[in-house]
């Protein structure tokens, strides 16, 4: 019997392991939304006026999101000034509306879209009260689009929404512990600081 050559088996073993590992991790049907997203909330008719700085200036957003099969979790941060998009140093647009956590996030992999709720204040809102808003993140060819719609009956902001175009600045593996800091909400629903 002709003996088998071990040199030919090595790549085969590696290939089998790669296939097994890939099958275990890559076939989940994810929408590929995980990572860090950033964008600028435009004022005016196109972007709506739900989110803006207290001085009426533009607001930068950072969405840190983790996607786990059908679930997503994450947080949404607001910052003042478009310069923040280039250097993450600007202060929050409103000291008490710096960060909101995502709740009940679900993914529809077929439409590459995630839906979640936000509980907290929104920068630029009239009374900075705690409101409940629905968020959706949808992948586009150039990035993603975040739509925030207030769903708080009784609030003057009810049904008002903002659409913000986002670009991905980091993948799921780039999320650091510091990126997940979101201070405890105050009784008003706002956070203690803009960090």
């Amino acid at each position: 019997m002709k003996p088998l050559r071990p040199v030919a088996l090595g790549p085969c073993i590696g290939w089998v392991l790669c296939v097994a590992a890939s099958a275990a991790t890559a076939c989940a049907g994810e929408a590929d939304l995980g990572g860090t997203w950033r964008g600028l909330a435009q004022l005016g008719p196109e972007g709506g006026d739900l989110v803006h700085g207290s001085e009426g200036g533009p607001v930068a957003l950072e969405l840190v999101i983790g996607e786990y099969g059908p679930d997503v979790a994450g947080l949404l941060r607001f910052f003042r000034g478009d310069s923040w998009l280039r250097a993450r140093s600007a202060e929050a647009p409103d000291r008490e509306c710096g960060c909101s956590l995502l709740h009940g996030g679900r993914v529809d992999a077929s439409t590459a879209q995630a839906a979640f709720t936000l509980q907290g204040c929104l920068p630029g809102a009239a009374d900075r009260a705690r409101v409940r808003a629905r968020g959706s993140l949808r992948r586009t060819t150039s990035g993603a689009v975040l739509v925030i719609t207030v769903d708080e009956p009784g609030s003057p902001l009810h049904k008002r929404s903002s659409t913000i175009a986002l670009e991905q600045t980091g993948g799921p593996g780039d999320i650091a512990l510091a990126d997940l800091a979101c201070p405890t909400a105050l009784p008003t629903g706002n956070t203690a600081s803009g960090q």
């Binding site: 003996p3 392991l17 097994a20």
Partner: protein, 492 residues
């Protein structure tokens, strides 16, 4: 209910191992007979050595007497006496089964293809002879050559030398008549090598053929090897195989300086060579033959059949890459464990071995990342197995126990726990499952094979499954690991 199922599972595996052990024992080739000294085993276990005695070949002839049939009696009393002496000496020896020339004839003629070959050879010879007499030499040569080849294939020269030699003689004469003297010489010499004491009537052949015959006999007598009167070692090995014997005794008579000499050779089929030889003056045969054969027999080991030698300790080691998914796991999607496993099978008996293996594994994340951290574990399995062999493949069934030390195994279905960590306020602690540093015990079964690649190196493949029973309340979440291992091994 679960316990009953587990018991049934274990019983089924145990039955499988026992059944395989029986099957493997049945398929195991007979133990190789080992040379042992006579005192090591009881007489009933000793297997006689089988020896075939071929007819004595008589080279005590003179080319000058080739055409004087009256110079040679019908049977040479010297050759007969030597043959009788050889047979008597062998019959007197212990643990020797002797096949006399008559038995040799029956054995060769009784071979499955012998009758057909001999008939074909005889038919070809008759046709060749007729063609030669009809002056069709070229066609006669073809037929006679066929006859000679068929006779040789059937070893006809051993039991009917005249018929076989006649084909060669007629072939040689036909070749000489056709002017192909060199080829004719070879054929005539081959005829005399099969029947050296053949005589012909005067004036039977034309002068050219008669001269060629005399020259061929002269050439044979000056060049013949008296220890190989029936051909070379390869032909003798084939003859011994056909006769089913271990040894052949080849005897020839030739002229010596002080009288006829009997050359006796003992050919070993196993070694494929002449392992003992003697050249004895005929008048001393009675005194010197028995000591010669005794010396040879003393050096030939007695085979045993009933007693197998003690199995030497054999250890089959291997190191393999391993893939081990769990059939029962708390994550919503399967997670895989990859790692390395190594171990050894220590052969206790021919088809029974003890095995021990150690495996080290780490996890590949599941699709939903329910497994919060990379999960490392160590696994020890040990038990008994049954093994069998088929050519270069050794296959086995193992049954034993499995101890699995789990490292950090924490799962959750809450995405907040996955993103922010288990200490975060959003993480639902109720969704956490922590099996950290737990040891699971259970039954283990495996099947596999080791393919012999050359020297003592092996390609090993093993499939396994375990079922954990202990601790009683800790095996319902993570259980039943499968195992697929592929690697290389070495037989010590």
């Amino acid at each position: 209910m679960m316990r009953h199922r587990a018991s049934a599972w274990v019983c089924t595996l145990a039955w499988t191992v026992l059944w395989m052990a029986g099957a493997a024992r049945a398929q195991q080739p007979a133990a190789r007979n080992s040379p042992l000294v006579a005192g090591d085993v009881a007489d009933v276990h000793k297997r006689p050595r089988t020896v075939a005695v071929l007819p004595v070949k008589n080279y005590l002839v003179r080319p000058a007497d080739l055409f004087a049939p009256e110079a040679l009696p019908a049977s040479d009393p010297g050759a007969l006496a030597v043959q009788v002496a050889v047979l008597a000496a062998l019959h007197a020896a212990t643990y020797v089964d002797v096949v006399a020339p008559d038995g040799t004839r029956h054995a060769l003629l009784g071979a499955p293809d012998a009758a057909g070959r001999v008939q074909a050879a005889q038919a070809a010879y008759r046709m060749g002879l007729e063609l030669y007499l009809g002056l069709s030499s070229a066609r006669a040569i073809d037929k006679l050559r066929t006859a000679g080849r068929e006779f040789a294939e059937a070893f006809t020269d051993v039991f009917d030398a005249k018929a076989s030699a006649d084909a060669q003689f007629m072939l040689g004469v036909a070749l000489v008549d056709s002017g192909r003297s060199a080829e004719g010489h070879v054929a005539l010499k081959a005829g005399f090598s099969q029947q050296p004491d053949r005589r012909f009537r005067r004036d039977f052949f034309p002068p050219a053929a008669a001269n060629a015959l005399q020259t061929a006999l002269t050439d044979l007598l000056s060049t013949v090897d008296p220890l190989r009167p029936y051909g070379d070692n390869q032909r003798m090995a084939a003859l011994a195989r056909k006769l089913g014997v271990g040894w052949l005794v080849l005897t020839s008579l030739r002229k010596g300086e002080r009288g006829p000499i009997a050359s006796i050779a003992v050919f070993s089929a196993h070694k494929r060579l002449v392992e003992a030889e003697a050249h004895l003056p005929i008048e001393q045969i009675g005194a010197r033959l028995e000591p010669f054969l005794s010396r040879w027999l003393a050096c030939v080991p007695i085979d045993t059949t009933a007693v197998a030698p003690a199995s030497p300790l054999r250890v089959w080691t291997d190191m393999a890459v391993s893939w081990a998914p769990f059939l029962q796991q708390p994550t919503r999607r399967d997670f895989q464990s990859l790692g390395f496993a190594g171990g050894a099978d220590v052969v206790l008996r021919q088809n029974l071995h003890w095995f021990g293996r150690l495996g080290l594994y780490t996890s590949v994340p599941d699709a939903y990342r329910d497994l919060l951290r990379s999960f490392n574990s160590a696994r020890v399995v040990t038990g008994l197995g049954a093994a069998g062999r088929t050519g270069p493949l050794r296959y086995f069934v193992n049954l034993g126990v499995d101890a699995h030390l789990l490292g950090s195994f924490v799962t959750s279905v809450d995405p907040d726990c996955k993103l922010f960590g288990t200490e975060h306020r959003l993480c639902d602690r109720g969704s956490l499952l922590n099996l950290e540093s737990q040891v699971l015990f259970g039954a283990h079964a495996a099947v596999g094979g080791q393919l012999h690649l050359g020297r003592d190196f092996l390609l090993a493949l093993r499939l396994s499954v375990s079922n954990y029973f202990l601790p009683l309340d800790g095996t319902d979440r993570l259980n039943r690991p499968l195992g697929v291992e592929l690697g290389f091994g070495y037989r010590i």
